[in-house]
């Protein structure tokens, strides 16, 4: 971690946030320098994601191998490893919450198959000429089963569920690691020449089934892993831009820019593992988009290698009006049009000060009204999110064991004040979490403005801790899903964007639809079906749903899950929402023609470069 001395406020703030999500060191694996780059002045190099990712990351679950939730012998939940601040902490109320929410029981375990059985994997279908040419070019590759399995999936429920059961579908036949743009050009040329299939692979965090290999594909499938293309090629302080290779992982990009006193401010929940190229390919959105913008606002220039050559603009300018913007064909194309290799991004000086906050509202309706007002006045902080009651309870269950009696006494007092004195109903209240960023004075001023608005809607300031814990939830949720899957609980998240006036109706109807569909499909216990308003815009909001249930007694839980999710999406569309705000999912759009979204044109249109 960069600790450049003076412990100034702004440095501390930046570090704190980074420590929350990162704070780990990878063994650096030497990669051969790209020949094309060798002559250039030494670029800033990120800590490389190892080629053999399975050495540090789970092959059948989320994140690092050493970091996971588990119930210890005493039945208490704990988080292992040293990478996160949560490492080694005990979560005393998680068990009760888990058991009462899902009707789950610690006695009923559904553990995954222990290890990857390489012999169960079909040998690769190799394209020999391709392989020979690749070897002659000296581009690293692998045919190993473990490498192939790792790149055969994203993190959709059905993908992880199959892995845990030791089931593998069609796998990529080999993995290649280009070191730079030119390598990618060569690989794409070879693939065209020898009729091989390329699937670009960045962080592997896709939740849109985009990494699934088509089972009926007869050609050899090559997974193009961009992880070695992770340099910041240059930083332009005059124009506040940085030119970066697309394989760089979010947290590394941020760390390196921070060292030079900058940031992109783009922080999707997956930023520990997802890559710049992936963000571009899926039209990603970051938590702090209110200040920094979404990926489409951040991108200045994109270089993409397509089968017909390289696509890029001839200049690095803020805006152009010569025809449709080619960037908008690339963003959201999910790797179907080509491989994004280099991107110029806007950067900003590191903010001086950062502050979390939270507000309790008596009910969800009031909370939404407040967020709407904040959006109307255009004074949204870097991040503002409103969790419904169920999600508030969920966040509450993740409260670590308190060390002193005094803190627990204080907590009790707070609860007493809110429920008894202010008359909030613990089964209806909901919490907005806030993150302010900027120079100290302005942050404090901004904070006051937002709290004043909140007060008009019955909101009470509820402290920094609650806010911070709320954000933590989004980073550990994927680890929690793995825990659930150990005990017959499966779940996933999905999201939508929706006009303001329909937010409440959509949230209520979708949650109710989920509950109803689960019941109709024989799910034994009521599911967890919860949402939060996670982004605000002038004309609407982004709503994020968590949905999980106990699948004991179901013959085909994944199928049930998918049916319910399908119904939920249908309900979203009927209530004026979109198929996705930021997860992407052209796979969904294939169904889109049936669902009547205009995105269906992607399936038919052939864009020529």
């Amino acid at each position: 971690m960069a600790s450049s001395g003076h412990g100034s406020g702004r440095q501390e703030a930046a570090d704190r946030r980074l420590r929350l999500i990162a704070g780990h060191l990878h063994p650096r694996i030497a990669a051969s320098e790209c020949k094309a780059e060798a002559a250039e002045s030494d670029p800033v190099r990120a800590k490389t994601v190892p080629k053999r990712r399975q050495e540090v990351m789970k092959w059948n679950g989320w994140g690092y191998s050493d970091s996971r939730f588990l119930f210890n012998k005493k039945g208490q939940a704990e988080f292992t490893g040293r990478r996160y601040r949560l490492g080694g902490l005990i979560f005393p109320s998680l068990k009760d919450w888990f058991e009462s929410t899902f009707g789950a029981n610690l006695q009923h375990k559904s553990p995954p198959t222990a290890a990857l059985n390489s012999s169960a994997i079909t040998p690769p279908n190799l394209n020999e000429p391709f392989l020979q040419d690749l070897k002659s070019m000296g581009i690293p590759h692998s045919l190993e089963a473990e490498d192939r399995v790792f790149r055969a999936h994203g993190h959709c429920l059905h993908e992880i569920f199959a892995l845990r059961e030791g089931r593998f579908g069609r796998l990529p036949d080999m993995v290649v690691w280009p070191n730079c743009h030119d390598d990618v050009v060569k690989i794409v040329e070879l693939a065209c020449q020898h009729n091989a299939c390329l699937i670009p692979y960045g962080g592997g965090t896709s939740v849109s089934s985009a990494l699934e290999c088509p089972p009926d594909e007869m050609r050899s499938i090559v997974s193009l892993d961009t992880s070695q293309m992770n340099h910041i090629l240059w930083i332009d302080e005059k124009n506040l831009t940085a030119h970066v290779e697309a394989g760089i992982v979010g947290q590394e990009l941020e760390r390196l820019l921070n060292e030079s006193g900058f940031c992109t401010g783009h922080e999707p929940d997956s930023m520990e593992f997802s890559t710049l190229g992936g963000w571009v390919a899926t039209r990603a959105s970051g938590m702090k988009k209110n200040i920094y913008g979404n990926i489409e606002d951040l991108v200045v220039h994109i270089k993409m290698v397509t089968p017909r050559g390289v696509v890029e603009k001839s200049c690095q300018v803020p805006r152009m009006s010569t025809g449709p913007d080619i960037h908008h064909f690339i963003m959201g194309s999910e790797g179907t049009l080509g491989v994004v290799t280099e991107v110029t991004l806007k950067i900003r000086p590191l903010p001086e000060y950062q502050k979390y906050g939270s507000v309790v509202f008596p009910n969800f309706e009031q909370g939404v009204a407040c967020l709407r007002e904040v959006a109307k006045q255009r004074c949204a902080p870097a991040s503002i999110r409103l969790m419904d009651n169920a999600q508030f309870q969920f966040g509450h269950a993740l409260k670590p064991q308190v060390s002193s009696i005094f803190t627990s006494f204080l907590d009790g007092l707070k609860k007493f004040y809110i429920t008894k004195f202010k008359g909030f109903d613990t089964h209806r209240l909901c919490v907005a979490t806030l993150l302010f960023e900027g120079d100290r004075e302005k942050v404090l001023q901004h904070e006051k403005q937002v709290y004043d608005i909140a007060a008009k809607f019955g909101g009470l300031a509820a402290g920094e801790d609650n806010g911070q814990r709320g954000y933590m939830l989004t980073f550990v949720i994927a680890y929690l899903r793995d825990l659930g899957m150990d005990y017959y609980v499966i779940g996933e998240s999905f999201e939508t964007s929706v006009p303001w006036d329909r937010v409440l109706d959509l949230c209520r109807n979708v949650k109710e639809r989920i509950t109803r569909e689960c019941k109709e499909r024989g799910v034994q216990f009521p599911p967890m079906s919860t949402c939060r308003v996670t982004q605000t815009y002038d004309a609407g909001a982004c709503v994020y749903f968590y949905f999980a249930f106990n699948y004991r007694g179901l013959a085909d839980p994944v199928h049930v899950y998918e049916q319910v999710e399908h119904a939920a999406r249908e309900e979203i569309l009927a209530n004026g929402g979109s198929l996705s705000h930021h997860h992407g999912g052209m796979a969904l759009h294939d169904e889109g023609s049936r669902w009547g979204t205009s995105a269906g044109i992607w399936a038919g249109a052939r864009i020529r470069f």
Binding site: D501, R502, D505, N509, A574, N575, G596
Partner: protein
């Protein structure tokens, strides 16, 4: 649908129905006052906090929907928004209910007293009440009772109050407000009042629809209205009106509520309070002059026995499940929801289908007393029958009705003759039993020389009253009877000929009976199934033929609907013979009536039901729909232009003289 479905048809006779319990029994044994003052704590929708009527008014006035219309109107007319807002308030004042528990208790007390005198029993399906209690908590509720008497207004609220359920808000016609005192009383017991017609008035429409939707969206109270729009004077279900229903569905289509439950309620009276009034109204005869005061009149009503009332609360129907796969709700996504617009074609068709479905559900759960069967038989034998034969025939008809799925209230241990006798006893004004013979009652010729017309009308009152009982059972026999009639008029017994005749008759009568639009095939299959089941017909490869055993059944069914067939023919003949080219719409009913009276008095026509203005209006609607008549407007005057050849064809076809000209459908 292929005719294979014939074999998978669900047997209506196997339909499961709830049991009834008499709620008057308990009332007879306990204090009315205590009952009226009982603790009333109804369960509410999702624990919604009760809302004062005045609050609802404020919400409506401040709603975006209304404000939008007010602004639009102000832009168009140049009038200040405050003025229009004021008009809206006035409309709302005139419309809104003022539910007041004290008044409800008062009504409950009075009704208790009245019911105990008027009725032997009020029987309700307890399971239905239980379901209702559940449904109230889950989703906003729409109650859809059948409408055959003023009593319907009171009885549903009375039952809900008795069972500690949330009182409904009831849509009532403005005519009630004419009765100043009664109107306000009804208002305080939950009625709200709507004008009979307000076609062009956008402000009225906006206030009205927003009022209904506000109550529904928030689930403050169940909404109750009558799909049929008005009381059925004939005890036959009326073609449903869809306006209010489509308003009630809108919050669901727009995603403002998760679902709406619709509960059909069938209220059947063994003897309708308004019986004689209805018949006179249908005949256009003024009420008999009464020398006594209104009070005495009321007392006369109280001194008579009106038998049983059966109230059947049907299974709540989820709007969401009905709309699944039929309505694409995202069509509402492209405009702000507070701007109302004409619903799309698919929505209109859907609303109409649901309305028909709900009326059919009401019909199916109407409880039929043995007397209904007796009336059916007597009407076919106007000169009277042997009592013994009547009992036999009634027992036979009972079997047939049950096979067709009728909801008969006729316990097994009651013999046919006893059932007949009790029916006769309850209707002394309609039937006479003398020396082992039973016949319709006709007033003995009075001492004064009365005009033959007067005699005729007096007789017609009896016939139409009697017909109103037969009408209650028509829905059970309708489809098989249409098939029986089609077999009569079809030129050959070939399936496709019979089917096209069936389709034709069904089309002609679709204003008369509840026949769901677009369900010809299902109806035909159902008719075939039922008649095959009772072995009245045989379906061969190419033909449909009557069996020897089935002939009496078929001719009975045809005879049951003969009055309608004749009625339609008579009207057609009138239009052909008496009308030159066109006639004013106003003089239509009177014209048909005097033509029919002439024909009856001259002995050419024996069917008195032709005199019913309900039938006459239905024929008018049917002829307009089929294009045989055309309306043209000149100022205030509406004229009907007659297409003689078309009418001639219809008449001949109904008489079985010409084969139907409808193209044969490919399915057969």
């Amino acid at each position: 649908m292929a005719s294979r479905t014939l074999y998978s048809q669900r047997d209506p006779a196997l339909k499961k129905r709830d049991d009834f319990e008499d709620i008057l029994e308990e009332r007879r044994n306990s204090s009315d006052l205590k009952y009226a003052l009982k603790c009333y704590m109804p369960v509410l929708y999702k624990g919604v906090t009760p809302c004062k009527p005045s609050m609802i008014k404020t919400m409506v006035l401040q709603s975006e929907q209304l404000r939008y219309v007010v602004t639009e109107l102000s832009k168009e007319t140049g009038e200040a928004t405050e003025v229009i807002q004021g008009e809206a308030l006035a409309i709302l004042e005139e419309m809104a209910h003022k539910l007041h528990l004290g008044t409800v208790r008062f009504f409950a007390y009075m009704l208790n007293k009245a019911f105990k005198v008027l009725y032997q029993r009020i029987r309700v399906n307890e399971d239905g009440i239980q379901r209702l209690q559940q449904a109230i908590q889950e989703h906003p509720l729409v109650l859809l009772p059948s409408h055959r008497s003023y009593m319907d207004f009171l009885i549903v609220s009375y039952l809900l109050y008795t069972n500690d359920l949330a009182l409904p808000v009831i849509a009532a016609g403005m005519d009630f407000l004419g009765m100043k005192f009664v109107g306000e009383m009804l208002r305080m017991s939950g009625a709200f009042f709507i004008r009979r017609s307000f076609g062009g008035d956008r402000l009225y429409w906006a206030v009205f629809s927003e009022y209904v939707k506000t109550i529904l969206r928030n689930g403050y109270a169940p909404i109750e209205f009558f799909l049929e729009g008005t009381r059925s004077r004939t005890c036959k279900s009326l073609t449903p009106k869809v306006g209010l229903l489509s308003i009630a569905m809108e919050p669901f289509f727009k995603g403002e509520v998760f679902d709406v439950s619709m509960v059909p309620i069938s209220i059947s009276y063994e003897r309708v309070l308004e019986e004689a009034l209805y018949a006179r109204e249908l005949l256009g005869v003024p009420k008999p002059k009464e020398s006594t005061s209104g009070l005495l009149k009321a007392r006369r009503i109280l001194s008579e026995d009106y038998g049983n009332i059966h109230v059947y609360f049907g299974q709540p129907v989820s709007l969401r499940s009905l709309a699944q796969g039929r309505i694409n709700r995202s069509q509402y996504n492209l405009m702000p929801r507070h701007i109302s617009r004409r619903p799309g074609e698919d929505v209109q068709v859907f609303v109409n289908d649901v309305a028909y479905k709900m009326v059919r559900l009401q019909e199916e759960s109407m409880v039929l007393r043995p007397w209904v069967l007796v009336a059916t038989i007597l009407l076919q034998n106007p000169h009277g029958v042997e009592a013994v034969w009547l009992a036999e025939q009634t027992a036979w008809l009972r079997g047939l009705a049950q096979a067709f799925g009728a909801f008969l209230d006729w316990p097994d241990h009651i013999s046919a003759s006893r059932a007949v006798a009790s029916g006769l006893a309850l209707h002394p004004n309609l039937v006479r039993a003398e020396r082992g013979r039973v016949r319709l009652a006709t007033e003995p010729k009075g001492p004064g020389a009365r005009a033959p017309e007067e005699d005729l009308f007096n007789h017609a009152v009896t016939v139409l009253s009697c017909a109103s009982y037969r009408n209650q059972v028509l829905h059970v026999f309708l489809r098989p009877a249409l098939l029986a009639m089609a077999m009569d008029v079809a030129p050959t017994s070939r399936k496709d000929d019979v089917y096209s005749c069936f389709g034709y008759l069904r089309d002609v009568f679709s204003n008369e009976f509840i026949l769901c639009p677009g369900a010809e095939v299902q109806d035909f299959d159902e008719a075939c199934f039922l008649l095959t089941k009772c072995s009245a017909i045989q379906i061969l490869k190419q033909d449909i033929v009557a069996t020897e055993r089935g002939r009496p059944t078929l001719s009975f069914l045809s005879a049951m609907f003969q009055p309608f067939l004749l009625g339609y023919q008579v009207v057609c003949r009138y239009l052909c013979e008496e009308v030159a080219e066109s006639l004013p719409e106003k003089s239509y009913v009177a014209g048909v009536r005097s033509y029919a009276v002439k024909r009856i008095l001259s002995g050419e026509l024996a069917c008195l039901e032709v005199l019913s203005s309900d039938l006459q209006k239905n024929v008018l609607a049917a002829l307009l729909r089929m294009g045989a008549l055309r309306k043209s407007k000149a100022g205030e005057l509406v004229t009907l232009r007659v297409n003689k050849s078309a009418i001639n064809t219809i008449e001949n076809t109904l008489g079985g003289r010409v084969s139907t000209q409808k193209p044969v459908l490919a399915r057969l």
